[in-house]
Amino acid sequence: MADQLYLENIDEFVTDQNKIVTYKWLSYTLGVHVNQAKQMLYDYVERKRKENSGAQLHVTYLVSGSLIQNGHSCHKVAVVREDKLEAVKSKLAVTASIHVYSIQKAMLKDSGPLFNTDYDILKSNLQNCSKFSAIQCAAAVPRAPAESSSSEKFEQSDLQVSSETQANNELTTNGHSPPTSKQILQQPKGIMGMFASKAASKTQEANKETKTEAKEVSSAGNKAPGKGNVMNNFFGKAAMNKLKVNLDSEQTVKEEKIVEQPPVSVTEPKLAAPTGLKKPSKKAEPVKMQQKEKKRGKRMELSDDETKETESMKKKRRRIKLPESDSSEDEVIPDSPGDYEAESPSPPPPASPPPEPVPKTEPEPPSVKSSNGEKRKRKRVLKSKTFVDEEGCIVTEKVYVSESCTDSEEELKMKTSSVHRPSAMMVKKEPKEERKGPKKGTAALGKANRQVSITGFFQRK
């Protein structure tokens, strides 16, 4: 009786669901060997035709064999409709195999839908694509993750070593993404090459860089503990180190920017005083970046020359914007939902943490983020953000928000959070303050850090 189940299944697929049932699709769906699936299809066709000769079934067959063509014995493999089957068979000198390829209710004009069906089922079973196949290969074992990542690192370090012997200051032809901290050495070297006027010898450059990096490490070290306190609670040392290293790399590039920003950030705290909520969110952001990078692990971030270019373009753009908008760059833009999830549990509930000078983390987060080497689609949009501040007041303000493509999600979450608050605070009369300016969202809302604007003092008309 169990044998008959497959007949019912096929019947259901073909007649009720009107699917195109190929042998491969059947094999994955029922979890059987491909040959068995082919036999099942054949059996079904025979039975159905016997019961009901007017059955509306169209069958395609696979024929393969050899024939002489242009002096060669050419092996042909073809998918043919049932009506052409005999004709094709007769043409072949030697027939190697014939079997049912697919069954469907409607007559197919061409073999495109067959491919689509196979492709779809394959996509959903990519990891065990040869499970039901008739050939098993002993050599095809997935590499252990440690092995593959170490081979990658080896390759990269290999190229790194070889490029260091180069006299001139060029990037290696294959740009390498810097997922590992080793590669950070490469990256600043390459980018420094764009800025450096002299072509010093490679070793000297390397020394210089390590010196500057050492300098930056210490300066970063001063800055990092400031924000590191909170973060250390959530994430381990590894993340901190990564964060530092990434900071370093970005700082070598943005030395000038950093000089600009501290004076800016000094004004920041005054503007931003009550909502120290921003801080954990901001801090969480860069570390989140690291976490994401860690999570990604081998997930390739292709930073080839193009992305570096766009990064530098973005950096350049940001630099220009700096004087007019007086932003310390708070645009950390996570561009995947994963980030939101990572963030929302982590920051503490909006109790008031000690207000700290709006960091010096500000230069870092955006730079950290862009060091990811990923393309982020960002646009600055003036949006109206509603959130609850420290005192429990609902605040609505218009700020520039850099939005990524997960725009709608952000909005949705914000709306839901703002809905809760009013219900809780219904007793009080909430003054709705229209405060323009550098406001950071609450933890729940603080997905995108806001652009701080020098015109925040003034009401926007």
Partner: protein
């Protein structure tokens, strides 16, 4: 052959399901060595001129040519350098050919304002009756005339000419000879049939859907999903698959991002991104079942100059999980089960096609074997890295199977050399247009084309299969 062996088993699939289904084990690779080390570039410096590669080519080839000349024209033939030539004296000179072609695209002519020329449209062949041959050696050059086929030869060939210099200052050629085949190690004797599948020009991302079904059928045959037991058993004897270039279609090379304004192309994705994802899936299916070697081609995301470096594994996150996937250089050289393979993705042959009167790709392949150089036109018309120590394109030894990819049609031939060398020449056709791949039998050193087809909307009988009576 593949089909006959496949047909030996009884047909079992047009019958009700049987209790057990046979599974075959893929033949294990007994020996494999990748000898493409000479084509791997470490640090690259482009600050050198290309004269060095010609100099080293001549130095390396001179001994071979001298011995060949002595074989052809007797041991007493005088081998002289151009500077030592006396008028009227019959002697033999070894040098590099240069073909002066008026139609050859020249960037200097194009940008020269005094000529006011529009850029020349690309042609299929740049030969012209007015082409002239010049022989160059280390110090001098001399024009050639006489019994020498100007149309057929291309720049960069090293050869020996026999003749004498005329009073006009030109060299009158009586005969010429090439370096011919390098020495060859004897092919191993295998006891079972083993196959290597050669495919090229998958052309993913090309937009045409017909070749996708063909590609899927190919993967299914190799991985043992398609076909009856006999065919699956034969497919289990395929010990390796070599993808010889042009995995992506040339449509994916859209240069919009360079030509168009940034605001127009800001959110567009390069066409190659989707194509590489598709390629990754195909490679995953293949490498889960058979060792695969992937060579880059003209339209693939790697460097342009020969030798092309392997594609980066980060592009194939799914497939690189399997150690059976190997990303190799173009040209590619390896010893598979004792049989020496050497092949390219076809840029060398198609470049010679453009500058020579030879029409058949297989003929050109044979010719490159005879002049003992994989791509003589590099670096003149084909991009090449400025080597200076050695020219890696000279054949150090003769391979057993010599292939080139992306040819317009399938071709295969056994070529015999003067010292009893036996080479199987294979012109692997472009899969996206011909739906044909090549199966090389390592035991018999024979090649069988294997082609795939679906059915289309056209009502002609069997047209798609090429089975017209």
């Amino acid at each position: 052959m593949f089909s006959e062996q496949a047909a030996q088993r009884a047909h079992t699939l047009l019958s009700p399901p049987s209790a057990s289904n046979a599974t075959f084990a893929r033949v294990p690779v007994s020996t494999y060595t990748n000898s493409s080390q000479p084509f791997r570039l470490g640090e690259r410096s482009f600050s050198r001129q290309y004269a060095h590669i010609y100099a080293t080519r001549l130095i390396q080839m001179r001994p071979f040519l001298v011995s060949r000349a002595k074989q052809h024209w007797g041991a007493g033939v005088q081998i002289k350098k151009l500077c030592e030539l006396q008028p009227g004296e019959k002697c033999c000179v070894v040098g590099t050919l240069f073909k002066a072609m008026p139609l050859q695209p020249s960037i200097l002519r194009e940008i020269s304002e005094e000529h006011n020329l529009l850029p020349q449209p690309p042609r299929s062949k740049y030969i012209h009756p007015d082409d002239e041959l010049v022989l160059e050696d280390e110090l001098q050059r001399i024009k050639l005339e006489g019994t020498i086929d100007v149309c057929k030869l291309v720049t960069g060939t090293v050869l020996a000419v026999l003749g004498s210099v005329r009073d006009t200052g030109k060299f009158l050629v009586e005969d010429h000879c090439f370096a011919e085949l390098a020495p060859q190690e004897p092919a191993p004797c295998l006891d079972t049939d083993r196959f290597v599948l050669l495919v090229s020009g998958l052309g993913l991302g090309g937009g045409g859907g017909e070749s996708l079904l063909g590609t899927q059928l190919l993967v299914d045959v190799v991985t043992g999903q398609l076909g009856d037991e006999g065919e699956q058993c034969s497919a289990a004897h395929v010990s390796r698959v070599i993808l010889a270039g042009n995995l992506l279609s040339h449509n994916t090379q859209s240069r919009d991002s360079i030509n168009k304004a940034k605001y127009l192309t800001k959110k567009t994705q390069a066409a190659s991104v989707e194509a590489v994802k598709m390629l990754d899936e195909i490679l995953l299916q293949l490498s889960a079942s058979v060792p695969v070697d992937v060579m880059p081609g003209e339209f693939d995301p790697t460097n342009y100059t020969l030798p092309q470096q392997p594609l980066h594994p980060c592009m194939f996150p799914l497939a690189t999980a399997y150690s059976t996937l190997q990303l190799v250089t173009n040209p590619y050289q390896a010893t598979i089960d004792g049989v020496r393979f050497l092949g390219t993705s076809g840029q060398n042959v198609s470049d010679i096609f453009r500058y020579s009167s030879m029409e058949d790709y297989l003929e050109i392949l044979e010719w490159t074997l005879r002049i003992r150089h994989i791509s003589p036109t590099a670096p003149d018309t084909l991009g090449c890295y400025p080597f200076y120590k050695t020219d890696p394109f000279i054949f150090p030894e003769c391979p057993h199977v010599y292939f080139c990819g992306n040819t317009p049609s399938f071709g295969s031939k056994i070529f015999r050399g003067p010292e009893d060398q036996r080479v199987l020449l294979v012109a692997v056709p472009d899969f996206s247009s011909t739906q044909t791949a090549c199966l090389v039998n390592l035991r018999s050193l024979a090649c069988q084309p294997i082609s795939f087809s679906g059915f289309g909307a056209e009502e002609e009988d069997l047209g798609g299969l090429g089975l017209d009576p």
